[in-house]
Symmetry: C2
Subunit: 355 residues, 2 copies
Amino acid sequence: MSKTAAKDRTQITMRDIARMAGVSESTVSRALAGSQLVAEHTRLRILELARSTKYAVNEHARNLALGQTRTIEVLFPIERGTLQRVSDPFFVDMVAELIDALSTHDYDVLLSTSPPWSEVRPGCAFLGGRADGVIFVGQGRHREEIAEFARDNRIVVTWGAGGRRDEGCVIGTDNVRGGYLAARHLIALGRRQIAFLGDCTLPEIEERYEGYCAALREAGMEPGDALRINAPFDIDGARTVTVGLDRFGRHFDAIFAASDMIAMAAMANLQAAGARIPDDVAVVGFDDVAMAAHMHPALTTVRQNIAEGAQLMTAKIMAMLQGEKPKGEMLPAKLIIRDSCGAPLSMRQESGDQT
Amino acid sequence: MSKTAAKDRTQITMRDIARMAGVSESTVSRALAGSQLVAEHTRLRILELARSTKYAVNEHARNLALGQTRTIEVLFPIERGTLQRVSDPFFVDMVAELIDALSTHDYDVLLSTSPPWSEVRPGCAFLGGRADGVIFVGQGRHREEIAEFARDNRIVVTWGAGGRRDEGCVIGTDNVRGGYLAARHLIALGRRQIAFLGDCTLPEIEERYEGYCAALREAGMEPGDALRINAPFDIDGARTVTVGLDRFGRHFDAIFAASDMIAMAAMANLQAAGARIPDDVAVVGFDDVAMAAHMHPALTTVRQNIAEGAQLMTAKIMAMLQGEKPKGEMLPAKLIIRDSCGAPLSMRQESGDQT
DNA sequence: GCAAAACTTGCAAGCGCTTGCATAACAGTT
DNA sequence: AACTGTTATGCAAGCGCTTGCAAGTTTTGC
């Protein structure tokens, strides 16, 4: 009937409410905003009217008028099509915490997997003032792009590895320290052939490896490529790689996995191959996802404080919104010791085995 | 300097581009939209200008003018504060698939945990025309509210249990069938004391329990409350509950858990208590999260086809956007048999144990 | 009983973008 | 040279909401 299909807006508008209440739009607007400028009884009447008609303010119009969005874009640097699933609970938890933290500040979360620079839609749509700021959850293989993006758009916070150059505000766990703690713990337990499982081309993983190397060297060992196994980040991939682990046979007596998911996959493989954990192989993960404590044996891991991270990122972005220019920060990594590492090998000789 | 702080819009606007290019806003708008109405060279010039100035259309203004949002709100019915974390990979996967499916249709995803009816912000903000439609991922304890919401807002799709009454378009796995398959499988394996772990006050879980009961009755057994253990959905809670499992001692020889997370927690508990899986206790989960295949022993489970579910929900909501009124649908549940159930007990007597 | 000081409300001008319609520019026909 | 098509551009209205300012209505003070 009308010119454009899109124009068939059936939505009830503020004007309708105004008409029904016999007042002007201004008054309705103010009433809904809880302004003191509107008489108590008028406000109540309008509120009631709005409620009964299920009226809802059009956020776009509102944001346009207000020049804000009250929305933060949360971005996963996942290569679409390549890495099909996220699957790693770390991400869920992070998103959940982020939503929590942001909605505390009355911000919505726009979730996306396609980074701004990948937009190929012909013509329009570069970024888009659809959000007041953006949070990158992890850098993936796009450290450079993110850094550049952060430079152009003032309101950007990134979770990942950083602090090196002007990459904007980067928040992350102290991965180097985390890796160091993990490896040092295994060494202290008497392990000598410690394999590293992870994809070192990812900035965060690389840092964890760095820490691992530091611990090894500190103990007088030299990290070798033979013990560095390039496990992809997604669990199916991790499984595939670690399937061959038993072929390594006696070559390693411990594993430091770059993520809990990888650790779990490796553990399952080893167990299936008949290896005992921690007796034959000790395992340490990274993240401390909820499941980690509930494996058998429970997984020793390096905890990333996700809640704190989310809150910190939120705080930073709020500060940026206020015009400040906050620096990145590093959250402490904490080693959570559980059964998957067992007691020191020396003690083991005497007593039976774990616990 | 200016009146309101919010008015300090530093953002470059279409007018700026127009001015710079020496054309009108209309032309810029059309050029950016790839309209045929604008001369090739003009378009190129404008595009180049836009790129170099990092100009981005203001989506709010655009959507306002267009009367659309190109956004779908995805809602988790999580009680904020109560159930702190989602943690269940099922949700991540679902969100990831949803993002994928929706962005294929050029829709953004607005993620939220606070349902529209919970808004308590005084005055304004009821729902908000911030999205063209909403998808509920699970019903939680809000089946009624969701149903009512769906009735008022035409564009709503829900994942969960449904089909009973006018709850709008509900998509979900055939939970009853899934529960039935799981229990029947355990029975066929010779198990007789099958415990059910899950919170039956949740619609979906209740359906799974229903299927479980059906299988039991079919085999001439009567489901009893003694074997029904009310495990919460989140993993820590599940762990807490199942910690006492070993006290049940010989009381059960199998477990059907309402989700993989619960199953994993139960498995870890049982293993820690010295029980062998599947020899002493067979375990079946529900969901087939990525981890399920990578446990030791690998978890037998009922697969929910998340990708298909996400695509179906997306298709439904797109249809609704076109004015159609699609019906809900039930996706088939599929039993994925892995090691956590082992071979039939009868065969077991003869050979050693599993695989 | 009247002016001044509250209180309420409405007007109208935007917010940045899209688009129907009018207009200008420039061929291509007779 | 006048006329009709095309094609490229601009005008201006409008999307639904907010808000400074002005106007109207009470209430208060003396």
